[in-house]
């Protein structure tokens, strides 16, 4: 079965939540993850620390530069990843729709 990565997006509203809201959000997320694990669809995932912790290393014409911050400054950024194994893109989209957090970018994985 093909695998897809769900890039879980977040904007500044995530960190502006109250402690109670954050707790409820995590409870919903944990329940969602447990459900996918039970169904055997979850192949792994990670939550990234805030974009303020990002460091970007780039190589341009042989010279390497190190800058603080994410590689792209935008309203939204990647806050975490989930890898899922499902029959097709439609199934991946259905799971992304059920994600209790914010927006999601779905990308198929390269199979070597």
């Amino acid at each position: 079965m093909p695998q897809y990565v769900l890039m879980l997006l977040e904007d500044e509203s995530w960190e502006k939540q109250s402690k109670d809201e954050m707790k409820r959000a995590y409870a919903a997320i944990n329940a969602w993850v447990d459900d996918l694990k039970k169904k055997g669809l979850m192949k792994g995932g990670e939550e990234l620390q805030s974009k303020r912790t990002a460091t970007t290393v780039r190589r341009n014409n042989g010279a390497v530069s190190v800058t603080e911050g994410p590689f792209i400054e935008s309203k939204e950024h990647v806050g975490g990843f989930m890898m899922i194994e499902v029959p097709d893109l439609d199934a991946a989209i259905a799971i992304a729709k059920s994600w209790p957090g914010g927006d999601v970018e779905v990308r198929p994985i390269v199979v070597h």
Binding site: E47, T55, R58, A92, D103, V106, R107, I109, V110
Partner: protein
């Protein structure tokens, strides 16, 4: 030791078509890099297909919308990721500097229960 996500940055050049000898060398160097540093990887992560295969699910206004394309249109995008276990951020930056490809965004991972 701490876990760091390496977000491999895709520079928007299509390597899937017919790679030049230079691009082939970069690919070979990347393969070697993973062989050399594989023992530090705790989660192999994934190489993503190009952004033209992306689908984005938007939930902004209560109504869920599905659109073709990545969440942001830009020259650079996320091309893949791996999780490394390293002593500290300095070690992560030093390792990222040896990456034969275009670039890496380093982000520490949330370990344990949420932020």
């Amino acid at each position: 030791m701490s876990k760091y996500a390496f977000l491999f940055i895709d520079d928007g050049v299509d390597y899937q078509g017919s790679p030049t000898p230079e691009q082939q060398k970069v690919y070979a160097d990347i393969f070697k890099w993973f062989e050399t540093n594989g023992s530090k990887i705790t989660d192999g992560g994934a190489e993503l297909q190009p952004t033209r295969t992306a689908t984005t699910i938007r939930k902004g206004t209560g109504k869920v919308i599905v659109v073709d394309g990545p969440f942001i249109e830009a020259k650079e995008s996320v091309g893949g990721f791996s999780i490394f276990e390293l002593p500290d951020k300095a070690a992560a930056v030093a390792l990222a500097k040896t990456w034969p490809g275009y670039g890496i965004e380093i982000r520490p991972i949330v370990e344990g229960e949420g932020r």
